[in-house]
Amino acid sequence: MEQPSILVIDDDVELCDLLADYLSQEGFHVETAHDGATGLSRATSEAYALVVLDVMLPRMTGFDVLRKLRESSTVPVLMLTARGEDVDRIVGLEMGADDYLPKPFNARELVARIRAVQRRSAKPDESAPSRDRMAIGDVELDVGARTVRRAGEEVALTSAEFALLEVLLRAAGRVVTREDLCERVLGRRFSPYDRSIDVHVSNLRKKLGDDRPGRERIKTVRGLGYLYATGPA
């Protein structure tokens, strides 16, 4: 099986080398770029399984790269944010990053996140394709083709948003806890103070729009989690 290819965009050359070394041991093929512009052109011209993007890049920041990248691509992006800059990670997620990791990070944690992102963006096997189409109201989700349509029009979702919608749709009408969502969507244990799921939900709401004026498709159940509303209420 071909090694998944990962692009690391970080201006710290030595760190990139170490990462390439480490990740190749974990079974990934790593390419590196040391500034935003190069990184962006590589990320848009070649097909990577995942992009690891540092927020703090000279000249063109990680946010700029992400914004430009999202104009044309839904490649999974893992942001490396600065510790102590909590706003960064929220902004990153809001702009369409799939996940984030505060830098300096634990390398095993990085691998775990990469694997989690991979798992949910990997196409499932071809068996039982009919069961893997879900439709509630005007929203239609095709697990096999990894597409989401709303009123017939395709909505571009990141892998995290897609996975989140899938879990919510499967459990439509029932409350899914944040802990549950974190484990099933992001592939990691929910930790307190982690707002990732909330940001992804908020992005998803924006992309899908209201069910009907003034009614959210995804409802917040305070202190518990979220639920996808079914039928008229």
């Binding site: 480490y22 510790r83 909590d86 307190p192």
Partner: protein, 454 residues
Amino acid sequence: MRSLFPRLLVSFWVSLTAVAVASTFIQVASSPPAKFIRRSQLMSETLRLVGEDAAARAGSGDAAGAERLIRGVESRLGIRVTLLVDDRVAAGAQPTTAMSRLSRQQGNAHAARSEEIGDVEVFAVPVPRRPDARILAEVPNVPRWERLIRLETLPLRLLVLFVVSGLVSFLLARYLSRPLQVLRRATQRLARGELSVRVAPEVESAGTEVAELGRDFDRMAERVAGLLEAQHRLLRDVSHELRSPLARVNVALELARQRAGADASGPLDRIERETERLNELIGQILTMSRLESDGPTRSETIDLSGVLDDVVSNAEFEAKGRDRHVAIVGRAPVSVVGSREILHRAIENVVRNAASFTHQGTTVEVRLSEIGSNGSTKARIEVRDRGPGVPEDALTEIFRPFYRVGTARDRLTGGTGVGLAIADRAVRMHGGSVEAKNAEGGGLIVTIELPIAT
């Protein structure tokens, strides 16, 4: 009177009034009685004319006419008049002793005489062309000081003096005390940490010394701000620069794990724990220095009750694994304005701190209430733990970065020593205050107060 302004005002006022009164007395005591001389001459002339007329009537046998004339003058002017012919009373009243004495003193001189005796003035005036006749008069006299002070207008003049000197004193006192008040307020603001405060433009007009003092103050404030800024920048830069090597260490550590045998995992775990602790510390320092340098980045209306729910449920999640609990025991629907992120972190730090110090099996109680009457209502968050508390003299110190009450215990709970300092700065940035006190029956109560959104 502790304040400068009223003291200056009163002393100016008193001294101005004293000067005015004293100068009046000096004037009364020393000035020549100019009007008085004129009055005496006028009186002498009048008496001479009356005497001439009366003596003429008496000489022509009209004694009754002379008497009428004299009595008329007496009653009209309110004085006592006597016409003497050959030293006998020809008309008018009997002369008083003072009048007789003056008459004797005058003898046969041709000049009129007058003399002040007590509260009367007596006149002896020869009658022209009648060497045998003379007219005497006794005129009630107003004392000299009384005439100068003029009792009838005294209240009005005193009022004018009072008002004018008061006004002058007020202006003078304000002129002198205002720059000092400006400086005092500026000093207080500087002490509260407003390092941008400057006074020179405000006190520039107040005279050389004060203006110079204002400029000195500004230089001092600038220097203090510069030093603090440099200190923060150094801390921030060092922390920033530590990140890159730490990131590399983390990756290198895992590489080492990949290659090393199982017996190396103990030390490697240790390295990992220590770098994680460094990471945490750096993050906290950076957060704190950002709070010190910038104001709140976002301003939104924040439902405190919701923030507390979040914080408490997360803290409970963490604490229950260690057989400790965190619960909301009271709440009120209050909102404040500011940065949700920063306030969240401030409250979180206080709650986490409480959760880490509370004894096993106990519950940290969090209470949200609204205090104060209309106009100055505040939101109050009380966080009470059931831990060992803090020595009384350290109650304010615990909000200082890296302050530790007891090193050993802090190590066990894994605090970085910056959490409460961050909370304190974050809350102050929102115009609130944080206080700690020991609770009756053990444990610490940390109280956060924030102005309520209107």
